[in-house]
């Protein structure tokens, strides 16, 4: 059976999600998406300029992609809800990444406000994916509120520091039933692969691709890494056993005692 990520009514083959901010030229976004064959892209509604053909980022996204509007700039739940509704009115679809940042210094998410926004927007029929600081009890609350997936950060946005939150993300992957998508902080393809090996549903990458010298090549590398990590996860038997196999097993003394 084909391995797909199921979110709402969509089956997604490509588990690399791509963010569209920070690129040196909007027109590069199309090349990046085509090269990586990404199926889900995030777009900050604050930057969508529906009045302009040249300036409108949506014009650079292939029609086959699922657009997930993000609420970048929202400082609390009410602002996130307002942005989500505006996005819907602008016909940007009903997938919404809740991003509530009440701390502009480190750009860390506000889980409590994100939860409030999630509760409200799920009721309004949105497919909601909250960006969050990894925390199991909070993730469970997001599940209860009806989130379609949770998006814990690997490290602060734009930091390219990798999966510093590995232990917390691993616990979330083990304990909750909706996809866990690592969002933010992934700087290298190997780190994206590591997220997938852990069992994450997908990885979202923006800065590392957008600010690379060759964003198209970077997108290809990330796409391959995500496939590699996912394949490893599905075939855990290939993993090298961490314990050496001693020629005299530690419980060998029990052999005669059957």
């Amino acid at each position: 059976m084909e391995d797909t990520l199921r979110i709402a009514d969509k089956s997604i083959k490509n588990r690399l999600f791509i963010g569209t901010g920070k690129f040196p030229d909007k027109s590069l976004v199309r090349n990046v998406l085509e090269e990586s064959q990404a199926e889900v892209v995030t777009v900050a509604l604050r930057r969508v300029d529906a009045d302009s053909i040249d300036e409108n980022i949506l014009g650079h996204i292939p029609e086959s992609c699922i657009i997930m509007i993000n609420t970048s700039g929202a400082r609390d739940a009410d602002e996130a809800i307002r942005i989500a509704r505006l996005g819907k009115a602008m016909e940007c679809g009903n997938w919404i990444k809740i991003e509530v940042i009440s701390d502009n210094k480190y750009l860390l998410p506000d889980n409590t406000e994100a939860l409030k926004a999630t509760e409200a927007l799920v009721k309004e029929g949105f497919t909601v994916l909250p960006y969050m600081s990894p925390d199991l009890s909070m993730a469970k609350r997001f599940v209860e509120a009806g989130a379609a997936a949770v998006m814990p950060l690997g490290s602060p946005i734009g930091s390219n520091r990798g999966l510093k939150t590995e232990e917390l993300v691993r616990i979330m992957v083990n304990e909750i039933d909706i996809p866990v998508i690592v969002d933010a902080g992934i700087g290298w393809p190997s780190e994206a692969a590591a997220c997938m090996e852990l069992g994450c549903g997908a990885v979202l990458v923006n800065t590392a691709i957008a600010t690379a010298d060759d964003p198209v090549a970077a997108a290809r590398a990330f796409s391959l890494a995500v496939i590699a990590g996912r394949t490893a996860y599905l075939n855990s038997g290939m993993a090298v056993n961490e314990d050496a196999k001693p020629s005299s097993p530690l419980t060998g003394f029990l052999r005669d005692d059957k």
Partner: protein, 367 residues
């Protein structure tokens, strides 16, 4: 607590002696650090640090790329009135300068707004001279109502208001405030602001906080470089930005680095600020405050602006005029508040940014 308490704290620490005591070795030690103390920030403003600009620039470029990517936001100012009740000796709107004054009617404002909006810009900065009688809050509010039809983000740069007045403008659709202290040095401040309510140093100093308490989204501060020794004012600007960032972490705080341009025949800057100095200042801001926005206006030359882009700049103005109605009236230079150096149009700036590997961002908010 007000920022004045911090100024008082540092005033007594002998800033200039400290600046002179910094060595290049101190800077080498500081550069690898991710988080800098205010005193370490001061060191980056020292004469010794001016010999380390290349290393500072490399790091500033890296930090900016990570935090802001390859994108630069564009905006333009719109002057709605040049009536002014103040006598500020460096300013072209000075009440003592006898010349015709102008205040846009709503029709004229609409024409000016349409002209700017046609360039594709969505961020506007509304400026007035400081006259509460000629351009009262009600007039500014009326203007905001008109501008809302054309722009997705409206910032104001007007005389300081009370907390309730800021609230009224924010409710009307204003999301950004620009307010420069001009100089943080009290004695110089008193000397250059001879007459008018602008003499109230503290009311101006606390203005940003009053607006932030009413949840304005963006605040942009700065000192008018040339009124005072730039190292001293630069230090207080950075400290002020950090103070606001710490106290209002949800807000976007940014800094401008306006250098005095020829504005009146009677005044020339008391302290020289060279291109090297302004570069050092921008780099020090970026290293001390990695997430701060840094704005560079058309006061600076085309060449300098282009070269400063990768060093930490996040916002630039384009197609600027500092005359009331200057976009559509044609009387650009005669009545300007100060002279513009970089006169490039929006399409020219867009092309330049793209050729330098930067995405011009014309829209970055949704009012």
């Amino acid at each position: 607590m007000s920022f004045i308490d911090l100024i008082k704290k540092y005033e007594s620490t002998g800033l200039h002696e400290r600046l002179d005591s910094v060595t290049e070795k101190d800077i080498e030690y500081l550069l690898p650090k991710d988080i800098l103390t205010p005193m370490q920030f001061l060191s980056l403003l020292s004469p010794a640090a001016s010999d380390c600009l290349e290393d500072m620039a490399k790091k500033a470029h890296r930090i900016t790329l990570k935090n802001f990517g390859k994108a630069i936001q564009l905006y333009t100012p719109i002057y709605i009135s040049d009536y002014c009740d103040n006598n500020c000796i460096y300013c072209g709107f000075n009440v003592n300068i006898k010349r015709p004054r102008k205040k846009l009617t709503m029709d004229e404002l609409g024409r000016e707004a349409r002209y700017i909006a046609d360039t594709g810009l969505k961020h506007i900065l509304v400026l007035t001279g400081s006259s509460r009688s000629k351009s009262p809050l009600s007039y500014i509010k009326e203007c905001v109502k008109v501008l809302k039809r054309y722009f997705s983000s409206i910032s104001i740069e007007v005389y300081p208001l009370t907390e309730e007045e800021y609230k009224e403008l924010i409710d009307e659709g204003v999301d950004g405030l620009t307010i420069y202290q001009e100089t943080y040095n009290r004695a110089i401040y008193d000397n250059v602001h001879i007459k008018g309510f602008k003499r109230d140093y503290l009311f101006r100093l606390d203005a940003a906080e009053r607006a932030l308490r009413k949840r304005v989204r963006v605040v942009n501060i700065g000192a008018l470089l040339g009124l005072n020794k730039w190292r001293e004012d630069g230090f207080y600007v950075g400290l002020h930005a950090k103070y606001l960032q710490d106290k209002f972490p949800e807000a976007e705080i940014s800094i401008s680095v306006p250098r005095i341009r020829p504005q009146t025949k009677e005044y020339s800057p008391q302290y020289e600020v060279s291109d090297r100095d302004i570069t050092q200042l921008i780099l020090a801001f970026r290293l001390f405050l990695p997430r701060i926005g840094i704005t560079l206006s058309t006061r600076e030359s085309q060449e300098l602006r282009d070269n400063l882009l990768p060093l930490g700049i996040t916002k630039i103005s384009a197609d600027s005029t500092t005359a009331v109605g200057g976009h559509t009236s044609g009387n650009k230079e005669e009545f300007e508040q100060f002279l513009i150096s970089d006169k490039r149009s929006v399409p020219e700036i867009r092309r330049l940014l793209l050729s330098r590997g930067y995405q011009p961002v014309l829209k970055d908010w949704i009012n």
